[in-house]
């Protein structure tokens, strides 16, 4: 492979003061025609292009992105990766992704800093205890590692948690998935971009899609701010803006786009070496390699594309964080931001063909899409290349909202919505 990153390339470039590193991907301008065009240059879109080129031998493809790659929800999430979902279909989908994560840095020759530090989910009431035990059993039946922890075991695994029985929502137990963890979100976008670019995929930034051109019941191309691009296959991976693109094609989706917020603290020395999530009080926290606490807040309940959220949502999350971790009471928050997440009624994604030939949607990941990035790209590429879903994403078709065969994952989605 050209420009392979290794200890030798590092030494070689160190000798020239790191001034001769080559760009990791080309900044392409659109060609007149492509075999397939992916709309959306986030992790999922870039991964889709990567697997289309790698596994399905489609080299004449492009990713169009209205801003810069990885600048949407890929760069805004709290980087948590896990696969402990309740239903068989979800377990298959998310664990497929987790298995790819486990070898992704080697495959991409790009360090995505995947760290299997474990994810612990806390129970704060009797219903939580029952739900989490049920989910643990379901996970184990599906071959996903999961253990149920008592309050004492929670305390042992993460000593800074306040397990006192007299707090408002005491910790009654929890679950732990040890294979779960975090990764460096930007690196995922950049690694896939570099890998796709090497196989000839054009990555076109600052190119906003303005229209989907149809001829009867099939697509013919897209109108963009950089002109018309002809193509027979369009894969839409536009997250919060999926409905906007669907509207251009005259299609309706069962989505609502809502703000989801996150925040990071000032950097401190290592204090929490795992990820702790708590649905009931809505607080989850981990620590980045830079030392910042990475805190996820909840969604607002109204539709908005403003990439802001309400202050009371952040306040509620921090209240919960402070009760669970009194040690953080004097920490200052450094940054806060919002992303727009597209939420399905059943809190499961859509990776599907549509009623329009050549138009495919990968959307509805809601508050938890980052963890699925590699699996989502792989399965969406399969769906686009074969015009048929892979068996792992067959259940996540758009027709489930007509048939009623929903995949209700509100309990495992971790962010209440």
């Amino acid at each position: 492979m050209k420009n392979k990153y290794s200890i030798f390339s590092l030494i070689k470039n160190a000798l020239s003061n790191h001034e001769n590193w080559q760009r990791a991907w080309r900044d392409s301008e659109p060609k007149k025609e492509y075999e397939a065009v992916i709309i959306g240059g986030g992790g999922h879109g870039l991964a889709t292009a990567y697997y289309l080129a790698k596994k399905h031998n489609m080299k004449n493809i492009a990713v169009v992105e209205k801003g810069w790659i990885g600048g949407g929800n890929t760069g805004r999430n709290t980087t948590i990766i896990r696969s402990n979902y309740l239903w068989d279909a979800s377990a298959g989908l998310y664990d497929h992704a987790l298995k790819i994560w486990e070898r992704l840095s080697q495959e991409l020759n790009y360090n995505v800093m995947f760290s299997q530090r474990g994810v612990m989910n806390l129970a704060h009431n009797l219903q939580d205890v029952r739900d989490l035990k049920r989910r643990t059993h379901a996970n184990r039946l599906n071959g996903i590692d999961a253990v149920y922890l008592s309050t004492q075991e929670v305390k042992k695994f993460c000593p800074i948690i306040n397990t006192s029985p007299d707090i408002r929502y005491p910790v009654l137990g929890g679950t732990l998935q040890r294979r779960a963890g975090t990764a460096r979100h930007d690196a995922v976008a950049w690694g896939y971009a570099r890998g796709a670019d090497k196989m000839g995929v054009d990555i076109i930034q600052n190119c906003e899609v303005k229209g989907i051109i149809r001829n009867g019941d099939r697509v013919e191309g897209i109108e963009t701010t950089k002109g018309f691009i002809k193509t027979n296959k369009i894969g839409v991976v536009a997250a919060g803006h999926s409905s906007v693109i669907a509207n251009m094609a005259g299609l309706r989706l069962p989505l609502e786009s809502k703000p989801l917020q996150a925040l990071v603290s000032e950097p401190v020395k290592p204090i929490i070496d795992t990820v702790v999530m708590s649905n009931a009080v809505h607080a989850y926290v981990s620590q980045s390699d830079k030392g910042e606490l990475v805190i996820g807040a909840g969604t607002d309940d109204y539709v908005s594309y403003s990439q802001k959220g309400s202050h009371d949502i952040v306040e509620g999350t921090l209240n919960a964080i402070l009760e669970l971790y009194p040690i953080f009471s004097r920490m200052r928050m450094l940054r806060q931001w919002g992303g727009i997440v597209d939420i399905c009624p059943d809190a499961s994604p859509i990776i599907s063909k549509t009623s329009i030939k050549g138009l495919y949607f990968n959307c509805g990941w809601g508050t938890g899409g980052f963890k699925a990035t590699p699996g989502s790209g792989d399965l969406f590429a399969h769906t686009i290349a074969n015009d048929e879903p892979h068996k792992l994403n067959a259940a996540f078709n758009i027709n489930r909202f007509v048939s009623g065969d929903l995949v209700d994952e509100h309990g495992a989605a971790a962010v209440a919505h």
Binding site: S243, L253, P254, S257
Partner: protein
């Protein structure tokens, strides 16, 4: 965060309200005669507009009454507020 002018109570912080989603979705008159496609359309499909949206809100921590709001979802600017049953303002 923004301020909503409740038609019954006046201007209050948005956190006092509960969003009720897209407005003017009409409940089917003959539910038994609906096809699966029509049910899906009624129950799940949403416009999810980026721009001017007509939506319902409930003053959950106030008068608890429902009303309609016209809001630009790209910047959360509220254009109009009107009561249930009233005709929506023309765009």
């Amino acid at each position: 965060m923004f301020i909503i002018n409740c038609p019954f109570c006046g201007e209050r912080e948005q956190s006092e309200f509960k969003a009720g989603g897209e407005a003017h979705i009409i409940r089917p008159k003959q539910p038994t005669e609906l096809s699966d496609d029509q049910w899906a359309e009624y129950l799940f499909m949403r416009k999810n507009i980026k721009g001017i949206q007509f939506e319902r809100w409930n003053h959950a921590h106030g008068c608890r009454k429902w009303f309609n709001v016209v809001r630009d979802t790209s910047n959360d600017e509220i254009k109009a507020v009107y009561k249930m049953g009233e005709k929506p303002p023309v765009q």
